[in-house]
């Protein structure tokens, strides 16, 4: 008889195999597919927005950086300083020559303000300049700025001496010039000037889009031109960019180096790229809100499920499940829901990033941490959303669970 008593004391503990933990956790979801899908939807949307925001901002940023790189980050612009005593607003006339002699300078080109108005024809009143300025320049400007022509060609060596103009992209538009299929002239400073070309916009020198350019020697000959440069554009050997940048003010104006301002136009674009990054944070915040809503959705469905399935819980306790087994079952269920939402959301986010990037002509870049982070975030959310319902299910008294209807 003691043998039977021993039989009870020596009972092996209740045990649920690992494969069964998964099966039991998924079972209820498989039998309530629509509800499961709907409750995972919130997480899916949240994760999809996070992944696509990260992917798209990365793709667009890299596209912008590609563009900036293509334009050249080694362009420096020298302008008269705006500081104290900078009233005359011009650089020394010798500056271009001095700069050109620096060994680290690959190319330099200056523009000079020309005191003249430019009009479509001689009938336009003189005060309607359309905000267009006239600058004189040399033939190297286009190359220095890495610019390109929309129509016609840039000033060549011969045109430097004659009244020939090249129009900035915005200027051409304001003057109403769409193409150069027929010869075009503009009324510039009281004389007709032939238009040789129309420029594309300059990414790194937007001021020149609103300019009309003429040859420097022609300007001296026909117009009242300041021989002091308004701006000098410089291509520098990349390796010595910072050194050169530091050297320039004293080289150009040894007496008043503070009146020389050196800027790097690509910095501005990079700042823009960074500014787009801060916009990303807003969307990340929205994605986080979607995730929170998703988490509440899962918790809600789980709480409802626990109440609805009291009978099942009671039965499982009756066939030997411990509290831990019940808790694990509901936690697994919540984790599965969230992980499914996370995976679906990640796929959705990746698809959205790819299609929008293709549409924009960008190279699609999905940061790996966005994928890993998305799924990990979903799992953490599932755990947080599932823990309370799981504990409630486990705490339920088996008899009350069985009496429920």
């Amino acid at each position: 008889m003691t043998a039977t008593a021993h039989g009870v004391t020596a009972l092996p503990a209740s045990r649920l195999r690992l494969a069964e933990v998964a099966r039991v956790g998924i079972h209820a979801l498989a039998t309530r597919r629509l509800r499961a899908a709907l409750s995972a939807l919130g997480i899916a949307i949240g994760i999809a927005s996070l992944v696509s925001v990260l992917g798209l901002s990365e793709s667009s940023r890299s596209d912008l950086i590609d563009q900036i790189d293509a334009l050249g980050t080694n362009l420096l612009t020298v302008t008269p300083g705006t500081g104290f005593g900078a009233g005359d607003s011009a650089l020394p006339g010798t500056a271009t020559g001095t700069i050109g002699r620096l060994p680290t300078v690959e190319e330099a080109s200056a523009v000079y303000a020309v005191n003249a108005g430019v009009y479509r024809n001689d009938l336009v009143p003189a005060n309607l300049t359309g905000g267009i300025s006239v600058y004189a320049t040399d033939t190297r400007l286009l190359e220095t700025l890495n610019g390109s022509m929309a129509h016609g060609s840039f000033l060549n060596e011969a045109q430097r001496d004659y009244p020939v103009a090249v129009l900035g992209a915005v200027s051409a538009e304001r003057l109403g010039i769409r193409d150069l299929e027929a010869p075009v002239r503009v009324w510039l400073g009281g004389r007709w000037v032939d238009v040789a070309g129309v420029l594309e916009t300059f990414a790194l020198a937007a001021d020149l889009d609103r300019a009309v350019l003429i040859g420097d020697r022609a300007a001296e000959q026909y117009y009242d031109m300041d021989l002091e440069p308004s701006a000098i554009y410089i291509r520098v050997d990349r390796r010595f960019l910072d050194d050169t940048r530091d050297l320039l003010p004293a080289t150009i104006d040894p007496e008043n180096p503070e009146e020389v301002e050196v800027s790097r136009p690509s910095d501005l674009l990079e700042a823009q790229a960074a500014a787009e990054g801060s916009f990303t944070e807003l969307f990340l915040g929205l994605g986080a809100v979607a995730l929170l809503v998703g988490a509440i959705g899962i918790a809600n469905v789980m709480v409802i499920g626990v109440v609805e399935r009291r009978g099942e819980i009671g039965l499982r306790r009756a066939i030997g499940a411990t509290r831990v087994h019940i808790r694990r079952q509901f936690l697994t269920e919540a984790l599965t829901l969230a992980a499914a939402g996370g995976i679906a959301g990640t796929l959705l986010g990746v698809a959205a990033t790819y299609s929008y990037s293709v549409f924009q002509g960008w190279r699609a870049i999905i940061p790996p941490e966005a994928i890993g982070g998305g799924i990990a975030a979903a799992v953490v959310i599932g755990a947080v959303a599932g823990i309370y319902p799981a504990i409630r299910a486990a705490r339920m008294s088996p008899t009350e669970a069985l009496r429920s209807d």
Binding site: M1, T2, T4, A5, G7, V8, T9, L11, P12, A13, S14, R15, L16, R17, A19, E20, V24, H27, A30, T31, G311, E312, G314, L315, R316, R317, A318, I319, G320, A321, T322, R323, V324, H325, S397, P398, T399, L402, R403, D405
Partner: protein, 230 residues
């Protein structure tokens, strides 16, 4: 030593006023015995059965299963007793929807850690035993009430428990379904199983030699027709 013994078991439910569901119940059930529990609604039958099967703990008194006092055991140890020594059948069938009869029965072994192929093998045997060998792949919604209760009975048998505790197993069945369950319980008793069954069904109680009658949480009668009536 009795297979199952309650010693002066009481159960109170907190509340205003508190409910005394069991009031000093003492009873012994020997191995291989079959016992019917009868009594009016609310008399404490289900409460006693749950306490016998360690689903619930008494407020006072002790429960001995195969000689072991369960009051010292923790939740996990009680779960192990239920999972290996006790088979429950309820008025409701508690079958998992969308799950075949085979897997519903195999679930009776789920928390013993038995691998799935062995569980299913045992489930086939148990389903054969209740006469549903031909319906093993049917889901609950494809079975009649009587068949569902036979699946539930097979689930209570599949782990070869020391006791079968049945709480109004025919309460939801028509007469044909009830009959099948009664016959099964009686034949399981003939095979030597210890069975305690709560019933309002005269047909069952009259077929069972030992009857416990309850009223207001007390055991008012313990009639055993095998022993000479005093």
């Amino acid at each position: 030593m009795p297979a199952l013994e309650l010693r002066n078991v009481s159960k109170q439910y907190a509340g205003t006023p508190p409910v005394t569901a069991l009031d000093g119940v003492s009873v012994q059930v020997a191995r291989g015995e079959m016992v019917a529990v009868v009594g009016p609604s609310g008399s404490g039958k289900s409460t006693m059965l749950h306490i016998m099967g360690t689903l619930d703990a008494p407020t006072s008194g002790s429960v001995l299963i195969e000689g072991l006092d369960t009051s010292s055991l923790d939740d996990d140890a009680l779960a192990a007793i239920r999972g290996r020594r006790v088979g429950f059948v309820f008025q409701r069938f508690f079958l998992l929807a969308g799950t075949s009869a085979l897997d519903n029965v195999a679930n009776g072994l789920l928390y013993t850690g038995t691998p799935r192929p062995q569980r299913r093998e045992a489930a086939v045997t148990a389903l054969d035993r209740v006469g549903l060998g031909a319906r093993i792949h049917h889901r609950p919604n494809e079975l009649s009430g009587g068949e569902m209760q036979r699946v539930a009975l097979a689930r209570a048998l599949v782990h070869r428990p020391a006791f079968i505790l049945a709480d109004e197993p025919t309460g939801n069945l028509d007469s044909a379904g009830s009959e099948a369950i009664i016959e099964l319980l009686l034949s399981l008793h003939d095979e030597g199983r210890t069975i305690i069954v709560i019933t309002h069904n005269e047909e069952i109680s009259s077929a069972i030699p030992r009857r416990l009658r309850m009223l207001d949480g007390r055991l008012t009668d313990d009639i055993d027709e095998r022993v000479s009536v005093p």
